[in-house]
């Protein structure tokens, strides 16, 4: 299960294809994250939690 920022989507898709995983599903969050503080990170995580669980095929 991979999570990256939206600025790396193109690269992530290319890497997946290079390894034979065309259409590999991963989650993106808005860039940047390196300069965020904890409450902002927690907010981002909450926003994408549903997508993460869906890819993992886990029910909330």
């Amino acid at each position: 299960m991979s999570v990256c920022t939206d600025k790396f989507r193109t690269t992530a898709e290319a890497m997946a294809r290079l390894h034979g995983f065309e259409g590999y599903r991963f989650v993106t969050v808005p860039h940047p994250i390196a300069s965020l503080e904890l409450p902002q990170l927690a907010h981002l995580a909450a926003d994408v939690l549903g997508e993460v669980l869906a890819i993992l095929e886990v029910s909330e």
Partner: protein
């Protein structure tokens, strides 16, 4: 460039040889070729995305044969590989891209030695750094190669002025060949697999040669244990390039304090330690040598004086250490480890952090014109690597340049 193009990168490079046929062989007997054919061939390479933005030389099969004849190695030999990208470069593809870069056939053994050195470049864990993500980093690291030995004079390498600038075919085209191999064969295209935020201008090409004739010290290749008759290529990964203006320096400490101050800038520190290639001008080298300083003295002085104060790191938000990557972050950063900070020592009443791990993290070569007290600090990505130098120090990865025995009385013949 789209992501789709990445998948085609390896195939594209192989197709380049076929395209060579389309470009047409040189007409026998000196017949003129229509300029539209020449321009059409050049534009074809642009359309296929096989350039670095500058025009390339269209290869032909006969010219490729001249390149392959320069070495006693199989065209099918894999000379570079990036397993994490499922990409390999054969010797033949390296030759094609060397032609496209503008190399002459006799340059090709240098290109191959450069690739050999690149494969020998290992990180702290002993794995080749070529197979890491280093070449795709947002930092925008750039290969820099240093040529030593008689090949410099035989092929006309510039080592005596404007060494990082234009005007000299071996320097310009051999460095460019590596970039074209990276882009066309290994698929490291900007905006896709090459994620550099800025990179730097040296990414087009960066191949310098040591000015052995005006150096008071032994060449780096001899330092590494090669004989003076050997020609070598050393490989490093550059981050940034900065000039040292110490034109009126009288003592070694004047020059090297400027160097140490430059090496210790906080902006270079994403992790605790840095490394550098110090390109000493002949004027500075002569000043240092006239006071009895050798390369070892230079390394030791720079390592001992390249320090950041705690206050400087605090101002830059770099007194914390992140959990997994161990990057320097603000101490209040969410990823900072509690109670962890860079190593400080007490010196002259203040806490200082040593930016270099040891004198081995300073590589010293002499190059440039003997016309001013100007030297250059090249910040390197990661510490220097094997092999060890004769003096017990560590040096960059290095490889000997060897050409085909078919044009020599002994086999193989060093250039």
């Amino acid at each position: 460039m789209t992501a789709d193009a990445v998948d085609d990168a390896g195939d594209d490079a192989a197709d380049a040889a076929d395209a060579a046929g389309d470009a047409g062989e040189a007409a026998p007997g000196g017949m003129l070729i229509d300029h539209r054919q020449v321009h059409g061939a050049i534009e074809h390479y642009y359309e296929r995305g096989w350039t670095d933005g500058l025009p390339v030389v269209p290869p032909t099969e006969s010219y490729l044969a001249e390149f392959l004849a320069q070495v006693d190695r199989s065209p099918d030999e894999v000379v570079a590989a990036m397993p994490h990208l499922n990409r390999e470069c054969t010797l033949r593809l390296a030759a094609i891209n060397s032609i496209m870069a503008g190399c002459l056939p006799e340059y090709f053994p240098v290109v191959l030695a450069m690739l050999d050195a690149l494969r020998a470049d290992t990180g702290a864990r002993g794995a080749t750094r070529f197979s890491s993500g280093l070449w795709q980093s947002t930092t925008g690291t750039v290969p820099i190669t240093v040529v030593n030995g008689p090949v410099r004079l035989r092929l006309g390498f510039n080592c005596k002025g404007n060494i990082f600038g234009p005007g000299f075919r071996p320097n310009a085209t051999i460095g460019r060949a590596l970039r074209l191999i990276a882009m066309n064969v290994l698929g490291l295209k900007p905006h896709v697999l090459d994620q550099s935020t800025h990179a730097n201008p040296a990414k087009y090409t960066c191949c310098i040669a040591e000015n052995e004739e005006e150096s008071p010290w032994e060449p780096m290749s001899v330092e590494a244990g090669y004989g003076p008759e050997a020609s070598t290529v050393a490989f490093m990964m550059m981050r940034s390039c900065m000039h040292i203006e110490a034109r009126s320096a009288i003592r070694p400490e004047h020059v090297l304090s400027d160097v140490a101050n430059t090496v210790a800038r906080t902006g270079v520190l994403y992790s605790e330690k840095s490394a550098c290639l110090l390109v000493v001008s002949p004027e500075h080298a002569q000043l240092l040598a006239s006071h009895g300083w050798d390369k070892k003295d230079v390394r030791e002085f720079v390592a001992a004086n390249a320090v950041c104060t705690r206050e400087a790191l605090e101002r830059a938000g770099k007194t914390g250490i992140s959990r997994d990557m161990h990057w320097l972050v603000p101490s209040e950063h969410p990823d900072a480890m509690q109670g962890e900070e860079p190593t400080f020592e007490r010196r002259d009443g203040q806490d200082v952090h040593f930016v270099l791990g040891s004198p081995d993290d300073v590589v010293v070569v002499v190059a440039g014109a003997a016309n001013a007290g100007v030297s250059t600090v090249i910040e390197l990505m990661g510490a220097t690597t094997a092999p060890s130098g004769r003096g017990g120090g560590r040096l960059p990865a290095m490889s000997e340049i060897v050409m085909s025995s078919r044009s020599a009385t002994t086999s193989p013949r060093p250039l």
